[in-house]
Symmetry: C2
């Protein structure tokens, strides 16, 4: 019988990888560790970060963990050899990820970032904290040895990242999941940027309470399209160049058509709405009437439920993976897309639980600005103040339009 898969085509139960961070303090190790963990969890791959606690990590692997990330300096060859041996003895592959940086301004920015946001330094004088931190770094510098590709460590699987992505060295990557992690990490950058998200303007199907389809905007949806350039200008400013990504469906393209002509616009099929298969074009009442078992099954497990001849949220996440990869490579991007797709992208940046994200309220006629920071993603919302129907739906409901309730974001 076919083996269970996690949906990205990997038999994750056969794989255990320990990602061992290597590098001096303030080289972005914790940033890399937390963003890798977020990415893997978003793909439903059990991933967890550990601070030097190898025993805890081994216990976690035994209980089903797939990617454990050891976020420590691991700065000596002896320490790395020890970690490598203990992992191998437990059937765990090892991927060393070394972050090197010789740009003083990046290191200083990292120090300031840690100093201002780390609980370790919360009550300290800023200058004193920075000095204390520099002293800690110089202690590590005395013993630090980079991974030596020509020497004993040449047989290790490793990724060296120089100055956050300017140059990378990749050695002996062996399997699929390792290659996904490496490709993801080599695409990261730390130049400041934001991602703006918007649903299309209210559509004719939205008015009818119908799902899917490829209808045009309602008159109020047209008003939003006209208003969008103003919202964007307010948030982005005049002189930052922006690239606009839409789906291939009429309602997102129409919503973006009044944006400044010097913005590049790209259409991605991967941004099309979740394919509702045989239910495309139906209202929830019609789905309940025609496919009562499907209606219940979807509410039971909305993330995994796949419409007959259509998609699940899990399927959408997989097809969005190249979009996420490209977003990580890019600078400022505005994405005009659809409710389910926006929920999935939002869940990636905001670390939302995949079981909950399909129930999030993502109102129409609202621009969301997300800005990745070292310790999480900042969010600002801009409302167009143009009325629109609610397309949110509570569990079990067949209402045409329904006001969102409770913890829906």
């Amino acid at each position: 019988m076919p083996a269970k898969t996690n949906g990205v085509g990997v038999q994750v139960e056969d794989t255990k990888i320990c990602v061992v961070m290597v590098g001096l303090p303030a080289r972005g190790k914790s940033y890399i560790a937390q963003i890798a963990q977020r990415y893997l969890q978003w793909l439903s791959i059990p991933a967890q970060t550990f601070n030097a606690a190898v025993a805890d990590m081994l216990r976690w692997f035994r209980s089903g963990g797939v990617v454990g990330i050891l976020d420590a300096t691991n700065s000596t060859k002896d320490r790395r050899k020890w970690v490598h041996e203990i992992c191998k003895a437990n059937g765990i592959e090892v991927l060393f990820v070394e972050s090197l940086c010789d740009k003083e301004e990046v290191i200083m920015a990292n120090i300031l970032d840690v100093k201002t946001s780390s609980p370790d330094y919360k009550d300290q004088d800023p200058d004193e904290a920075a000095n204390d931190f520099r002293r800690r770094i110089s202690q590590y510098e005395k013993v630090y040895k980079t991974i030596d590709g020509d020497g004993d460590e040449g047989d290790y699987t490793y990724l060296k990242i120089m100055n956050i992505g300017k140059q990378v060295i990749i050695n002996r990557i062996q399997d699929y999941l390792q290659s996904r992690i490496v490709y993801y990490l080599m695409n990261l950058h730390i130049r400041p940027r934001s991602v703006w998200l918007s649903r299309h303007g209210e559509s004719l199907y939205n008015l009818d309470g119908r799902i899917g389809g490829d209808t045009m905007l309602s008159p109020r949806g047209e008003l939003y399209a006209k208003k969008l350039p103003e919202l964007v200008r307010e948030s982005v400013g005049d002189d930052r160049p922006l690239t606009v990504w839409t789906s291939t469906l009429k309602r997102t393209i129409a919503t973006s058509r009044w944006l400044p002509p010097h913005y590049n616009q790209l259409q991605w099929k991967a941004l099309d709405e979740l394919d509702s298969g045989v239910c495309d074009g139906l209202t929830y009442q019609e789905i309940k009437d025609s496919y009562p078992e499907d209606f219940v099954a979807r509410d039971d497990d909305k993330y995994n439920y796949r419409y007959p001849a259509g998609e699940s949220y899990r399927d959408v996440v997989i097809r969005l993976e190249p979009i996420i990869m490209e977003l990580e490579r890019s600078e400022d991007i505005l994405i005009v897309t659809h409710q389910a797709v926006l929920r999935c992208i939002y869940a990636y940046f905001m670390k939302k639980d995949q079981a909950k994200s399909p129930w999030m309220n993502v109102p129409l006629h609202t621009l969301i600005k997300l800005t990745p920071r070292a310790y999480g993603t900042e969010e600002i919302r801009y409302e167009a103040n143009i009325p629109a129907v609610s397309t949110w739906r509570g569990k079990g409901s067949t209402a045409k339009h329904e006001a969102p309730t409770g913890d829906t974001m």
Copy 2:
């Protein structure tokens, strides 16, 4: 208005990249060049290989070329500087790809490969040809300088591949298309392997002449499922481990269910049949009756035609791209999938014209073995000799079942 895209989300008309191969003879440069060209052409990105003819290449860029691959040794810093300057002056990005190899057996295998298959040596005595080739290499070795990441060349965008993928160094990759090319090349390997392709056994919808759906196998389809392990054993042998990839649809999973239990099986949604949207479950006669304009439009340009609420062949190629990437990373794989998907995968390996590939005849109940070689892909077919309907269809035809005619493969 939205900019034109090539469907992978890249504005290819804005990008021109010269991939400059670097390396001594017999380091796999031509192999890398031709396989990169094949991959890009499969993605509908205009790509062409040139042997040292820079002027020809510049002319080709002016006529709309996107990725030009300069397949020569480019072994001195001066030569590389000259290529870099001439490209920059013409608005062309430069990506150096250096292939290094210190394994004598790989170099010898490459020499033998060139010697036996290159027209340069066709009429020569084999030993003399090998000696001649070694003399040529030692000439280049005298002047050869590797790309120097710490020196003047540190600002170049480059990929260094050591021993075909064992280690790679990536420097200053800048845009999306460069990153795709680099990711593709870093996944290549030259360990011997084959890819086996099969459609599912004849399905109930095949009998009816209906497209799409998720029906079970016909009695003859069941016979094929029972016979498949024997065909596979005949082709693969007993002791090579094989991984089986199916789609998520019942007919491919059922077709694979009698294969040896020690074969790993993975289901990929990306291997599901082309989504025929509103036409799912219809016969071609019903499509012509209900959607006469679509019927004609599809026959006019089958590769680009997208079913309403469904997919085009072009869309299928894009969603297959991760499958191709993973195939390049893998060793022996058997893929049990669907007519349109198999046509797309076959087109990749066999360099088939995308305009023609949707019309290829891919008979049911046949196992295809593809083996990548240095200068192309070898093909062997194994017929199960179990009768099945033909699902091939000629342009304009609405026949339920039709015998293939003319140049259909």
